[in-house]
């Protein structure tokens, strides 16, 4: 059936993607909903179109392609490395624009050369857009969760805090609130009566007896000890939490993290800026910086004009399967994101792949590209 609402440039775009040596795949429009909700969180539920099968299975209209393409890869067990291209309709309620629109993109699975694969994703997105928008200058914003993770680790923060900060990375308001809360000397959590009792009985000293106490209490109150959090898990985290109780984030570290998150420079200048930050702060982030530098070099080698790319240290996505690179492409000076991508090394394992499969990819927003093309025509 010919799709008459398909943007006119779609066939040419599909050819461009094929020329980038990616195998074109299709996935059913109707998908099981659970993987999307599991991976992206409950927030997605308001935006996707849910229905139920006759047997009560929760189904949805495909809200994006990455997860179905990855699931398909796992199911067909075709081995890696593998590059997949897709072009099709997705269904998702948005603040602006129709809730049914087209996306295309590439998912690059299993390339062990991280810098090269990252650079290729950026270069592919830019080149595909440049072919649709000749003469329009593009701008790329790039972020790297790996550098943030390295900075946080080098600050010597307790493991529990590192996790919290990394989890909040990409959500500016939440991260700022978290830094404030960790710094606030007034805000120590109360030692509640329940914990007082345990302390008096000496149970907080020893993790094993604490776990045994928790186990006994759960059984006595009719809670299963293996359906949810286990006694050992609760005991371990309680110990960790009590150790953190008296510590606050010191002003110097807070200052350093804030300074780092404020870094916003042309990509060509980013290695020097990060190196200077490391020198000034005395933080040992050398391995992360050398990976960053390798990617910058690879992006240049892949043929992306370095001066169209900006590195923003605070740019990330607060989802736990994103691991390193994130990027977005717009027409320079515009806000509409035409392509968005990133590295998601954890996704395939979360979806059930037996082996760890490094992965990077990008998605193109065809309706926004069409708008940009029309704007370009109107100007000409």
């Amino acid at each position: 059936m010919p799709l008459i609402n398909l943007p006119a440039f779609a066939p040419a775009l599909a050819e461009d993607l094929a020329a980038l040596k990616a195998e074109r795949v299709d996935t059913p429009v109707i998908q099981p909903a659970a993987p999307f909700l599991d991976m992206a969180g409950e927030d997605l539920r308001r935006r996707i179109f849910l229905t139920e099968s006759e047997t009560g299975e929760s189904l949805c209209l495909r809200p994006e392609f990455t997860i179905p393409v990855c699931i398909r890869h796992i199911e067909t067990a075709t081995g890696t490395p593998k590059r997949y291209a897709y072009l099709g309709e997705v269904f998702r309620q948005r603040r602006e624009g129709s809730a049914e629109f087209y996306q295309a993109g590439i998912e690059d699975l299993g390339d062990p050369d991280v810098a090269r694969a990252d650079a290729r994703a950026v270069a592919d997105a830019v080149s595909v857009l440049a072919r649709r928008l000749p003469g329009r200058p593009l701008a790329v914003t790039l972020g790297d969760q790996g550098v943030f993770e390295a900075v946080v680790a080098a600050c010597g923060l307790p493991a529990g805090w590192q996790k919290r900060l990394i989890h909040a990375f990409g959500n500016h308001a939440h991260l700022a609130r978290l830094l404030e809360a960790l710094s606030d000397p007034e805000k120590t959590e109360v030692f509640n009566p329940e914990l007082e009792k345990l302390a008096i009985r000496g149970l907080l000293e020893d993790e094993a007896s604490l776990a045994a106490h928790i186990d006994a209490t759960m059984q006595a109150t009719g809670y299963s000890t293996n359906a949810s959090r286990s006694p050992a898990e609760i005991a371990r985290r309680l110990k960790e939490k009590l150790e953190l109780e008296s510590i606050r984030l010191d002003a110097r570290t807070h200052g350093l993290l804030t300074e780092f998150l404020g870094v916003d420079v042309p990509l060509a200048d980013a290695p020097a800026a990060l190196f200077a930050f490391a020198e000034r702060s005395g933080l040992d982030i050398a391995p992360a910086l050398s990976r960053f530098d390798a990617r910058v070099a690879a992006i240049r080698n892949a043929g992306v004009e370095p001066d169209i790319v900006t590195y923003r240290a605070a740019f990330g996505r607060p989802l736990d399967y994103y691991t390193g690179l994130v990027f977005e492409v717009t027409v320079k000076g515009e806000t509409a994101v035409l392509a968005g991508g990133g590295r998601f090394d954890r996704l395939l394992t979360l979806l059930g792949a037996a082996d760890r499969i490094p992965a990077v990819g990008f998605a193109l927003w065809l309706d926004r590209i069409e708008t940009a093309i029309n704007e370009g025509r109107a100007r000409a």
Binding site: E42, D43, G160, K163, E189, V190, T221, S228, R237, L319
Partner: protein, 231 residues
Amino acid sequence: MTVTIGLPSKGRMKEDCSAILARAGLPVVAVGNDRSYRGRVDGREDIEIAFLSASEIAREIAAGTVDFGVTGEDLVREGLAEVDARVEFSARLGFGHADVVVAVPEIWLDVDTMADLADVAADFRARHQRRLTVATKYWRLTQQFFSQRHGIQLYRIVESLGATEGAPASGSADIIVDITSTGSTLTANHLKVLSDGVILRSEACLVRARRKEHDSDPVVAEIVERVRAVV
């Protein structure tokens, strides 16, 4: 224009509503027998009463079939998107108090705050091969509170239409978001409310659908004024 007020059709809420309206000088009488679903205000041709089931009132206000409704704030905030643009909470009536809260098993000794819960949720998948599950009938309130207020994205809602507080013990969910007035049901089920886990302090409210024609309607203004004067 006749102004329609939607009131709960039975139970304690119905009696409390009638009492407030009587104090406000708007005594409600049933049309026909006591079980009738239509009513009127004694001596007022310009006000109609529609007796509705409590769960329908928010929807009827949103649909514009009634001008006012008396119902719990929780049901209105849960039932309608962009609620403050669509309705006005004209008066808080002082009865039907209930809090919508986040409650976790008491034995989670390490979890007292939403920040603790965020830590647990972030690690949950790695430890248990599934996301943290929340049993609730308050989908919208839970999502708004968890993700917008506390940056918690990674959890799953398990719909629960009754006996929600039993879900953690039975293993059908890890934690709950539910309504509580005294907390005794939570305690009986060995659950505790997080210290910053009160999503909403709800009570019965006089709720008005925001409609243009209300601006110039003296009856609408009079009802709001009369009710506000007695609460």
